[in-house]
Amino acid sequence: MALRWRTSPTSPSPLGAIISYLILGFWTFVVLFPLYWLVITAFKLPVHVNEGPTYIPFVDFQPSLHAWRYILVDLGNDTLRPYLNTVVVGVTSSILTLMFGAAATYGLSRFTYRVRLATALVFLGFAVLAAVGIQLGLPWQLAVAGGLGAFALARAAALRRVGGPRLGNADIAFWMISQRMLPPVAIVIPIYILFQRLGMLDTRTALVVAYVAANLPIAVWLLRDYFRTIPLELEESAAIDGANRYQILWRIVLPLSLPGLVATFLFIFVLAWNEYLLALFLSSAKAQTMPLLVAAQNATRGPQWWYMSVLILLMIGPVIALAIVLERYIARGLLLGAVRG
């Protein structure tokens, strides 16, 4: 038995095990110490922070709830509103992202799309024309309707005969996922101007819309593999029984891929929860989210670490809980995505 234990490729020798534990223990300390410091700072009085570091509660200093009382009771609504904003924006945008992403990914995994490149370019041209129209002062509803109408006409009539290269499913999926490469700062100013024109700056709606666009590529990327594992036979027999496409998707595919949907939802939710750049551009007071509130703490009297720690703990509590629950799914999802590219 001992011999077998030795030769098993993944079990280390006793000395190796000790070294491994030392390194792993060191990194555990690196990961947990900042979190420990956050927790104890949240219970310190200003005097305990300002007079040099104190390390152990009840020994070095007497813990106090004053910071928690200040943030939760005295500030009350000023803390609650950003918190609520973050929850509402996170949940709404994640649900919408999941709906659009699941529909598109299912479509891409079961239908064959052959879009002519020419059609796509013509559509893009019309859309740019519509944008110019809005710029020149047309009401935007009219310009958008005109653009879409022109596109429908063009698609129905002339372009059927035009040849040229076609785009398949893989191209469309790649196009969607590759949007993740885009640095958000390269698109945020036009989005800012758009919402400014629509009078929607500093609203939750604007944030939800922006987050859906930002996270859709991730949803498509993660969901692709979950849909691929569902056996086609089930769907075929449902189709023979007279179910239409939407019924198949709703009654068979979605329930079967529920674990994947839940994991994707939570993953997107964490991203939306933590998002900072888009929120910084698109919201200021009414729609302020938690990352903005925390980042704004530095402003006046210098950093007040005790209040800051409470806010950070409130902000990261939910995602740490999710991380512990999600650990298995995240590894699997990321690996599948990484292997497929």
């Binding site: 300002n50 666009a213 902000m315 590894a331 292997v339």
Partner: protein, 393 residues
Amino acid sequence: MRGIPPVTTPQRRGDAVAAPVRRIPWSRETLVSWADRQAGAVLVLPAVLVILVLSIFPLLFSLYLSLSRFQPVSGGFRIHYVGLLNYRKLLLGSEREHFLGRLGELGLGGWLAFVVLAAIGLVLLWRSLRASPLSISRIAGHTVVAVAGLLALWLAVRTIVTSGGRPGTLVVTWVYVFGGVALQFLVGLLLASLCAQQLPGRRFFRVVFLLPMMITPVGVAYTFRMLTDTGKGPFAPIANWLGYANVSWVNDPWGARIAVMIGDLWQWTPFMFIVLLAALESQSPEPIEAAIVDGANRWQIFWHITLPQIGPVASTVILIRLIEAFKIFDMPNVLTGGGPGTATESLTLHAYVLWRSLDYGTSAAVAYSLLFVVTFVGIAYVRLVHRRLTEAL
């Protein structure tokens, strides 16, 4: 009109029979079957529209913005087309020092660093070129990468390893990206290979090591500000003992940059770790067992069997992190505010600062420069490294 009286029903049926068989165009049944036939388009269209409206059009508009001057006027704004003026400003004009940095005099160390690094890079490129059959496009591609790499290296060396030089936001971003990703990969690989062993308590380490990735970057940045405070932070006694009590890392450019990179390392090593660990655990055990029988040692097994097996996954996580790291913003903005001066500003932060001062045109130009660099690095990496590692399998 509340329902049709039953008396008229037979009459209607009779009419329907007498008329030629024709479907009522908008009956519920035909609508459903029409929708069923269009399912493919209906399913994909929302996502396509979202990406078009909020990604592609903004991208085009941003390009136009970067070529124009933006003037807010009452009730709206005015845009003048100015050609490449904004880019000129970045490369030659008033934003040059901010963007590219200040070039310093090259000393012996600087020349040495440049020659050694350039030689290593060129040898690696040469070997990669010789690895597969030559074609004109491959030679051209390698030449472009060599020229761009040499220029980038020249800029980096002239601004970093000199007296009087100062790196701009472009070079600082490279430092964050290449230095940071290399560190994260090495630490992640080390931790993953330790965790892949049959050790009791592995699950605990896996969960703990994952945590930093999920924490809000803004929170991470403030936490590290607390930790690195030389007066009130937990390591103040050590700093005191070393004689750094009154020296604040915030005032030292490299101290501040290293603080940003440590925060980034803390946050993103888990991503490398978790994916590499999953890859290590899913590799097939037979080749390793065979190698043990043949008397290979641990290092040989790792180098010749494990590394090639996880190569494609490793290459992909590096690619993903390279692309993501170029977007770094939260950490420097909150941890150091870009300071001292502009020493820790990344390109995204640079664009944000310009946007805040209402210089939309130059801000868009910086953003487009970032997009250009990311795309170039991404394509070069896929062509030169990624494809070879994934094809080798």
